[in-house]
């Protein structure tokens, strides 16, 4: 239970930190391709740092996989949004969307994990 709460909290944190970094790096009107690549790179670096800090408490893979997904793919999406100035005009709104994105990714991975977990192949069956 505590690990599950930690997973969601950590996902929200990665979403928020990625949002803030992208907001700092990407100006409205910036070339969208550049903004998306910048967002992805920022997310990539940040997820490694945050993942390394959280891994002792939550587990190596349970932090690395969601964090990479949120940081890299989220970074691209946030970069696209901020370059177009499309929605989440206030920082508070952007942070909320970032946190929600992080929580949603963790939830999706948990659902996927539950579906995949168990015997994948058994020669005796």
């Amino acid at each position: 239970m505590l690990f599950a709460l930690g997973d969601y909290g950590f996902g929200a944190l990665v979403g928020i930190v990625t949002t803030l970094a992208v907001r700092l790096l990407v100006e409205p009107g910036m070339d969208m391709v550049v903004a998306m690549l910048l967002g992805m790179a920022a997310g990539m670096v940040l997820h490694l740092i945050l993942g390394f800090l959280a891994a002792p408490l939550l587990g190596m893979f349970q932090t690395m996989i969601p964090a990479a997904f949120i940081g890299m793919y989220g970074g691209m999406l946030f970069g696209m949004r901020d370059s177009m100035n499309a929605g989440s005009t206030t920082l508070g709104a952007a942070v909320l969307v970032g946190a929600a994105f992080g929580v949603l990714v963790v939830l999706a991975l948990k659902v996927y994990d539950a579906a995949l977990r168990g015997v994948a192949f058994d020669a005796g069956r």
């Binding site: 891994a55 002792p56 939550l58 893979f61 997904f69 977990r117 994948a120 058994d122």
Partner: protein
Amino acid sequence: MDDVATRRKWDDASRTMDFFDFADDRRLGPPRQRLFAKARGTTLMVGAGTGNDFKFFPPGLFVVAIDISPKMLERAALKTPQHAGTITLYEMDVCNLDFADGSFETVITACTFCSVPRPAAGLRELHRVLKPGGRLLMFEHVRSRIGPIGVLLDLMTPLSQRFGPALNRDTVGNVRTAGFRVTRVENVYLDIIKTIEAEREDPPQR
């Protein structure tokens, strides 16, 4: 990467290895314990690391544990009392095992073949030292077949393997290529962390 570079990398990693054990033991300990409970007879553990897996071995098991890193083995030696059986440690490269053919009834690995530079060569050595009918029990992380997650693991591997393991190995495929018969594969986390059970088949009877 040559053996000296591999040894140095894992000597360096030995200092931080136990740092990550708290959560991994709790979240991934039970499947490891269930897998290792299937070990029988004289058992070879490849990649002893800092000895974190010793506590998951079934009582009474006779284990020969190897690692390429002397620093890892120094730490592992302190954890041998956690196993209610016998553990003997050797510094050895899995690609060049100093054991006779058919020496072991079971081989155990735990997050080892993400780190062996030549996994196919290492697995062929394990095939050689296992008795016919002997079992290979692996707890490993592999490349995901889920498209976007597989891509993430590919992207992270050039960085991760500078300090630690590769994240995109096809270990199940490598086990088959080395001549083993894979008997069971179980997903532990997504399709990334798996238990893999395989056996060395008896030679055909004439």
